[in-house]
Each structure stands twice: as structure tokens, then as C-alpha cells.
Assembly symmetry: C2
Homo-oligomer: 348 residues x 2
């Protein structure tokens, strides 16, 4: 494969993260957004916290917008309204409930390999749209500021919110930019043809499969001119669903994007694609084979096994690239490659 896993993988595990409360423990630390900030590489890690397990009960934790605090609950096994699921959640009265509550935490490194996780959250649920968590942050440096978008999950659906920071210490939530059900938003690092542009991944059920779309905006908040960009190809490694991964990187051959796709069995891989610099809705090339497949033990087994999922890459001035990714919905990992290799992979 055209990427090399970092020997230090996994880079961040639940053991590296301190819980926000003594009655919670870290279930997972994965799907990091990534950005170069000064001399440091920063990861914006999705941290899932769960209550200590109690035998015979399904535990859950939610943010309560009325009290402004986190609320822990448990449902007895055998409750007729309870349908146990996988490790990530269960059904109660026909509705999904998540085992863990996610927030976004910054991890900092001077070498891009060894990270120290901040003791406090960067983005934590604070609205009725986030009662089930803040997930999967992506960072775009744009107009001199760092914009972070993330999935907000609640009984109101999965929406996408925008926040902004100048220092990765203070974050300001700007508001919702995509209504349910939409996630996997990647904002381009510059305006194209006079407008902001992004990829998004609306849920088009029951007619359509989860696919990558492009949208445009005058102000980063209101989005329109939606267009389907990339759809699953049945029977292939990207036969089930796909969406963007890392925000696009400008190269002389076009916008380079590391994206995710799952086959019909739900095995998540990463691919590479190139789109036109002036018309990013036009795909120039995409990898026929994955650039990264779940093969390492920490990618094959975990909360959701056989899964690699990218929310950010970091490039250096010499054309080197590190792909940061979540593995098995459990931990953070990294793989090195170059911009040229990813362009070649997209064209292959």
C-alpha cells in the first residue's frame, strides 16, 4: 500500500485520556481531526465517555440541556423496551441510545507521533442538539482562522455544527450549518469561484445510499447548490457508503482528498481522489483500490472492527503527508505517505 503505518501506532488510546468526571470512564478516543499549528501537530480527538459498567444493566450517559450537566442512567437487562445492540449503543422504545457521550479533545505533539491529550474538553455538548454528543471534528484554516465542524447528535437528529478558534484553547460555537441527517463535512481551505465550498454526506434513505455531495456558501453558515459528487459503486470496496475524510489539500494537479468508503459488509477503507481546482464538483481521478485498509490488529478489532476512518491529514512543505485516522472506532493511529504518492494512487 502507498502508505506506511507509524510504528508508534496506536498513537492515542482510551488510557491516554482522563475522564471529565470520576463516575465516567473513557470508552474510545478516535476519528481525529488534524492540523499543523505553529510548531505543533494537533489532533482533535473524538472522546467517548461511558458510565462504569454495572452487571445486568445497559448504561448510558447524555447531556441534559436543562441542568447544563451530564446525566447518567441505566436500564435493566430484561426490560421489555430494551433491545441490546453492539458495543456502541442499544435500542430503547424503538429509538437508538448511545452507550457513550462523545466530546472533542485536543491532543498536542511536537513530532506528530507522540501526543499529549489536554486534560479538559475543547468542544463539549452544550445545546439540545448535542445531548448524545459532539463527534468527528474536521479543521480548516480559512481566512486566517481555524474553523472546526463536528457532528451534533441528539433526539433531534445528526446535524453538523461549525465552531471557530484562533488558538485551540478557546472555541466559539457559531451554529448549525447542516440540518439532519448530515455529517462528514469537509470545508475547503479557500474560496473557489468566489464562494466557500464543502463536501457533505446527507442521508438519502430510503432512495439513496450515503454518498459524497458538494455544496457552496457565501458565509460558511448558509449552504446550497447541492450536487451529488461521488456515489458508492456496488460490489467494490466502496459499494455500501462513502463520504469525505480530510479537508482537501491544494496540489498542482487538483484538490487532493483522502476519503472513506465502506463496502456492503460495512468494512471501512480510505481512498484518494483528485478534483478540479476551479471546479471541485468535477472529480478528475479516484483510487480504484483503497490506500489504507483495516489490516492491523487495532484496525480489525475494537468497538466497530474492520474500520479505518480519516478526519484529517497534515502535510509538510516538502510534500510529506501524515494521514491521521480512527481505527475500529476505538483509537487514533497515523500513516505516512506523500502528496505525490496519493496523487498517483488516485490516478491509478
Amino acid at each position: 500500500m502507498p502508505v506506511k503505518r507509524l510504528p508508534a501506532n496506536p498513537l492515542i488510546t482510551p488510557a491516554d485520556v482522563t475522564p471529565t468526571r470520576p463516575d465516567l470512564e473513557i470508552l474510545c478516543a478516535f476519528n481525529p481531526g488534524a492540523v499543523r499549528f505553529g510548531r505543533e501537530t494537533l489532533l482533535l480527538v473524538r472522546v467517548g465517555e461511558m458510565p462504569h459498567q454495572e452487571p445486568g444493566y445497559a448504561g448510558y450517559v447524555v447531556y441534559d440541556p436543562d441542568s447544563g450537566d451530564v446525566r447518567i442512567g441505566r436500564i435493566r437487562h430484561g426490560d421489555p423496551d430494551l433491545v441490546l445492540g453492539d458495543n456502541r449503543g442499544f435500542l430503547y422504545r424503538g429509538r437508538p441510545v448511545l452507550t457513550s457521550l462523545s466530546h472533542i479533545r485536543v491532543a498536542r505533539s511536537t513530532d506528530g507521533v507522540h501526543f499529549k491529550v489536554d486534560p479538559k474538553p475543547a468542544l463539549f455538548p452544550s445545546t439540545p442538539y448535542e445531548t448524545y454528543g459532539c463527534e468527528d471534528a474536521r479543521v480548516t484554516y480559512l481566512d486566517g482562522r481555524y474553523y472546526v465542524n463536528y457532528s451534533a447528535v441528539s433526539p433531534r437528529g445528526i446535524s453538523t455544527w461549525l465552531a471557530v478558534t484562533d488558538d485551540f484553547r478557546q472555541f466559539e460555537k457559531i451554529g448549525m450549518i447542516f440540518c439532519p441527517s448530515n455529517k462528514d463535512i469537509c470545508i475547503f481551505p479557500e474560496k473557489v469561484r468566489g464562494a466557500y465550498v464543502c463536501r457533505h454526506r446527507p442521508d438519502a434513505a430510503p432512495f439513496g445510499s450515503p454518498s459524497m455531495w458538494t455544496a457552496w456558501s457565501p458565509d460558511l453558515v448558509c449552504w446550497g447548490r447541492h450536487e451529488l459528487t461521488l456515489a458508492p459503486v456496488p460490489g467494490t470496496w466502496e459499494g455500501g457508503r462513502l463520504g469525505c475524510g480530510a479537508p482537501p489539500v491544494r496540489t498542482r494537479e487538483g484538490w487532493l482528498e483522502i476519503y472513506h468508503a465502506a463496502d456492503e459488509q460495512g468494512r471501512y477503507c480510505l481512498g484518494s481522489m483528485l478534483s478540479d481546482l476551479e471546479r471541485p464538483e468535477r472529480i478528475l481521478a479516484r483510487s480504484s483500490r483503497p490506500v489504507l485498509e483495516p489490516e492491523a490488529p487495532y484496525e480489525r478489532a475494537g468497538l466497530y472492527g474492520n474500520c479505518v476512518f480519516c478526519c484529517g491529514v497534515v502535510t509538510d512543505p516538502k510534500g510529506g503527508m501524515t494521514i491521521y485516522y480512527g481505527a475500529a472506532d476505538s483509537i487514533c493511529a497515523g500513516a505516512t505517505t506523500t502528496v505525490e504518492e496519493m496523487i498517483a494512487a488516485a490516478k491509478e
Copy 2:
């Protein structure tokens, strides 16, 4: 009930509509948008066309963007990939297929009761986003032009498109304004606090129920600042799902809206609500009981029985109001009331 059905109901039935091709027949003519235009009342009727039925086959009809024409097909009963559904469609290879292809047709009347249906469609599928049809038009008079939005249905999902007309003869499709899955968009007839505003109804599955949201726009094309406005109330007539109906009417007490809601059994009724003129995201009052329930024979039986669904109302200078609505997903009907009665119903 505070409304009176028109004695002439149903106002438009499939028999009143000519098919676009001899090998198609009219299955349904319903869910009309409504507008006063000069001395006429116009309905923008959703017309569903299907192939002539052939015993032993499930027929379907789609728009083919490659040929630019309509394509008719049939699947033999007993095909292992076929799962027959209700009269509206079936499942083939796990995906829904619609029995009929919808387009939007103008019907014209000088008395608001007796309508003549145009011989040709006003808005017909013409893009890959409309291969399964154009449905449920709403009209808003804004900035001196008539804006029409409608649901575009295809394997890419259910999106919402905007078109514009000045004469209800020529329509220009502007483009997609809401990506899948979203429908039931009502655009307000004026800017509020400097921005265009609308209601929409995103699909928030699996976490949320179909609900009414509010969004804002600088240009009618890009929408953001999404906010949940009205959600189903379990156990009531609006316990299952709800969304907007007719574009809002300005009254001295607030924005008046006739909206739709279904209970957990899928019985669709109409309600009345009032929102703040300057802050339409703030609901001032909503009817505790429906203002119109499916009780007439043409509302109780049809392609989808026990259903009344509104896409437009027409008011007169004296405060009279006619609610036009689709009944049982089959025909167009009307009911008269007054603005004051609907305000009173909302406050009840």
C-alpha cells in the same frame, strides 16, 4: 370544525387531467400549491402518471436523464427481487420504486371552485435528481416574482428544488435548495430581520421524528441557521410526524400557518399555528385539535387513505381563506374558513 368543505369537492380528480403520453394514465392529482394570480386562483397540482396496468406485472415509469424521455418498465410478479407494497410503490432489490411519476400541472379557476387543468405540465422531471418525479409544489410571492419549490425524488434521495415564474406559463428551475432527505419547504412571503426564512422538514432518522424546522437564507438558494421549531407530541393527533403545509400568511397577530401532522397510525390532519412576526422561529400558539380531519369519503379512501395534506391557501382582502388540500393522496379538495377563525383555532 372551523372549516367548511366546498360542496363541489373533489375539485380535481384524475379524470380531469390529460396524460402526457398515450401509454400513461393518471393515477392521482393531489397536494396542490395555491396562489391568487390576477383574477384567477391557480392550483399547482401534483399529477401522478402510471403505465396501463398489465395483469401479473408491477409497472413503473421513470424519467431517464440520458435520453431526456420517460421510460416505462414492468417487473413480473414472482420475481424474487420484487416485494409488492401499497398502491404507491414497491420494493425492488431492496430499494423503493414508485408506481407513478409525478409532475406539477397548473389548474386555473375564476371562482376558486371550478378548475380547468392545463393540457401540459408546468414542471416536469428534467434532471437526474427528478427521475422519480416532481412532487408537492408550494408557491410564495416574493420580491415581485412567484417562487415555487417542490420535492425532487430519485435514487439520489428526496431533495427540494426552487423554480420561479412570472406568468405561470414559463417556469425556470433555479436549482436545489435543500439536499436529501428534506421536503415540505414553505418560504415566507417577505424577509424577516433582513433574511429570507422558511420552514423545512428534514428526515432526522434514526434519532429523530420528522419535524418542522426553520432556516434562513441571504439569497433563497443557500440555507442555514437551522433550528427545530415544532416536533410531534406522542399520543396525540400529531404524534407521528409533522411539517409545514401552506406558506405563512401575515396577520396582525403573527404568521398564520396551516400545517400537517400525522399520528402514530399515519392518519394525516391539518392544524393551525401562529408564530411571532419578527421571530417566526418562536411559536405563539398552535391548535390543540385538528382544524381539518379526514372524514369525507374522498379523504378516507384512496391511494393513501385517512389523509388530508395542504400545500397552499388563498386569502381574500376581507379575511376569507380557502384551504386547498390533497385528500387520500388521490384528489384535490378545498375548504373555506377565515383568517380570524384560524387564528382562534391556533389559540384554542
